[in-house]
């Protein structure tokens, strides 16, 4: 009885082990095909300047300037995997003056990479929302990746004088849409 039991047990063991080998066709190399293509939206820049800020002690200030450090490409993901960036600007002017807004993209050597210019007509009582889109791809994107700083220059065109009590404001809202292409096998 013992040998018979032993051989039944052995047969069962062999059967179970053989069952292990019966597996579907797998291809683990597929992991190399992994490709992440997230699309990320993020704020870019915002300001809202009331008309009275263009007046200082009764004198009109027709130029406003500021600069901000901005070096998102120090991040390797941004530097290496970003394939397209689209900047969307929404400008709403409720001041009775025309403006030219320049966003100066500056690199680490303080050289201008590119200047984005937006001409904004004077407010005439009707809805005055302007939308601009800038798409950075290929060479334009390569240059953008040198970005270290953004300069903001606002030039106010001539027109009816402003006072401390002038209504309205010049508002800019903007965001970027970033397309990444992250591949497992790079």
């Amino acid at each position: 009885m013992k040998p018979a039991g032993m051989s039944k047990f052995t047969t069962l063991l062999v059967f179970v082990f053989l069952s292990f080998s019966c597996s579907g066709d797998l291809d683990f190399d597929q992991i190399d095909d992994l490709k992440l293509e997230p699309v990320v939206v993020a704020n870019l820049t915002y300001f809202n300047i009331p008309a009275k800020d263009f007046v200082d002690n009764g004198n009109e200030q027709s130029i406003a300037f500021d600069a901000q450090d901005f070096n998102p490409f120090r991040n390797s993901l941004m530097r290496e995997e970003l394939i397209k960036a689209e900047f969307n600007f929404e400008i709403r002017n409720t001041v009775n003056r025309a403006y030219k807004i320049d966003l100066v993209l500056i690199d680490s050597q303080n050289n201008t990479i590119e200047t984005l210019s937006f001409n904004v007509p004077a407010y005439a009582g009707t809805n005055n929302v302007l939308n601009f889109t800038e798409v950075f791809e290929n060479q334009r994107l390569v240059k953008l990746k040198r970005l270290q700083k953004i300069g903001f220059v606002i030039n106010m065109a001539a027109g009816p004088p402003l006072t401390e009590n002038s209504p309205g404001s010049l508002k800019l809202r903007s965001a970027g849409t970033l397309n990444f292409d992250i591949e497992a096998e790079d």
Partner: protein
């Protein structure tokens, strides 16, 4: 062994296997003495994934891999988990103490164990696959990041005693030595993007982060100057230089009648105090991102929003000791036996009152603590004695991995050699890659009874 879940439903109360004492130190196991064949007495491996199978991801079927990943993420929730566990018994043994009439037993052993448990980080996976553009208004939950991993060795000594014909009591103390541990189970926070109001930028974007990863026995390997052999160092640390902990098991068997039995056990009530090569990484803080906003105020130094972000949610490295609790397991069972054994009839070695039953049916309940909800499994089983010393146990288990998990175990003794082989999810073995969980365990012991 069903190991990270560690529901050893086939082994539980399979008392012809001495290792069943590891899941119930109060199991009704008797021997004069036994020892396991080193390295062969308990080998087990186990893999489980509650929402997808290896086949779902890696089938060679022409479907784009990225589509498969997306399908898996879509059908998973942050309560779905992936686990793997492996155990290797290094040595084990036991002996009866006192004379031939004594019914007190000592058992002891040491085993190495590897555990890995990760919940599907669903929101982070969506963010990586799709980004946030199509999820305006959704809060991505950082708490979805939840994992723990450990390599440890366990040394234990147990004692069980048949108090009388009705009751067996047992207990076991354990010394844990953890060679490597990673623990990130109490994360919270969110990444949120919604449309801004007209007085805000295009979006309102907010990150609240409370992320923490505790490690012990790992940091040294991540340093540039490390030039050792990770496997060798890990083995050394696991056995000789680990973070130490203590725990206990307790259990009982009670016979209402000779053929109606109740058992219960609690396993791994214990902790490990992590003290060796500890390093904890944290990202804690919150930040509202408005953009790069000029003030047109010449008195201000240029600001840098990215620096502000890193100051608001800094990466900190801490070197504090920490404590982890072992996943505690609770087992209970009821078993009804019937059909007197005919194998005893041609044997005069047992008085009629001690003859074995041929069949047993019953039910078991298993629960285990986990970082999120406890793991619960319900098992119905049937045990059949094929020969006097050859027993078969089949189990049907319902748990979060499967509702049709059929297990099969066989244990036999030939002379002094005791062998067992247990597999679960046998229905899926037609194609193991399609299963959501799989486990096996096997072992060989030498068992000496009085009549031997």
């Amino acid at each position: 062994m069903i190991c990270f879940s560690q529901n050893k439903q086939i082994l539980y109360n399979f008392t012809s296997i001495p290792q069943s004492l590891l899941v119930n130190p109060g199991a009704d196991v008797s021997y004069k003495y036994f020892f396991g064949i080193p390295g062969l007495s308990g080998v087990s491996a186990n893999f489980g994934s509650s929402s997808f199978s290896v086949y779902d991801l890696f089938a060679d079927n022409g479907v784009d891999f990225n589509d498969k990943v997306r399908n898996v993420v879509n059908k998973s929730s942050n309560k779905d988990k992936i686990y793997t566990n492996q155990q290797l018994e290094l040595f084990s043994g036991g002996f009866r103490i006192g004379g031939e009439e004594s019914r007190s037993y000592i058992s002891f052993g040491g085993y190495q164990e590897l555990d890995f448990l990760m919940y599907v980080p669903k929101d982070m996976a969506i963010l990586a696959l799709d980004g946030n553009r199509d999820y305006i208004g959704k809060s991505f939950n950082l708490g979805d990041i939840n994992l723990r991993a450990e390599v440890l060795s366990v040394f234990h000594v147990g004692f069980h005693k048949k108090m009388n014909d009705k009751l067996v009591l047992g207990g076991r103390v354990k010394l844990y030595s953890s060679g490597a541990n990673a623990n990130s189970t109490r994360n919270s926070g969110f990444i949120y993007t919604t449309n801004g109001t007209t007085d805000q930028n295009i979006y309102y974007q907010y990150i609240s982060s409370n992320l923490e990863l505790q490690t012990s026995g790992i940091a040294a390997f991540t340093k540039d100057e490390y030039d050792g052999n990770i496997t060798n160092d890990l083995i050394y640390n696991t056995f000789f230089n680990g973070s130490l902990g203590l725990g206990f098991d307790a259990g009982l068997t009670y016979y209402f009648r000779k053929n109606l039995q109740f058992t219960a056990s609690i396993i791994d009530v214990g902790f490990i105090r992590h003290t060796k090569d500890i390093e904890t990484l944290t990202y804690k803080g919150s930040y509202e991102y408005d953009g790069v906003n000029p003030g047109f105020d010449f008195t201000n130094e240029p600001e840098n929003v990215l620096d502000d972000f890193q100051k608001a949610i800094p990466r900190d490295t801490l070197y504090n000791k920490y404590t982890t609790w072992r996943p505690a397991k609770f087992n209970t069972s009821v078993e009804y036996s019937f059909g007197k054994s005919r194998f005893d009839q041609d044997c005069s070695c047992k008085p009629p009152g001690e003859r074995q039953y041929v069949n047993a049916v019953g039910a078991q309940l298993f629960t285990m603590t986990m970082p999120k909800d406890p793991f619960v499994a319900f098992t119905a089983f049937y045990k059949r004695r094929l020969l006097r010393k050859l027993e078969l146990k089949t189990t049907y288990t319902v748990d979060s991995f499967s509702y049709k998990n059929i297990g099969l175990g066989i244990a036999g003794t030939w002379g002094k050699l005791n062998m067992y082989f247990l597999v679960d999810n046998v229905l899926e073995y037609k194609d193991i890659t399609k299963t959501n969980s799989a486990a096996f365990q096997l072992g060989i012991n030498f068992v000496f009874q009085d009549q031997d």
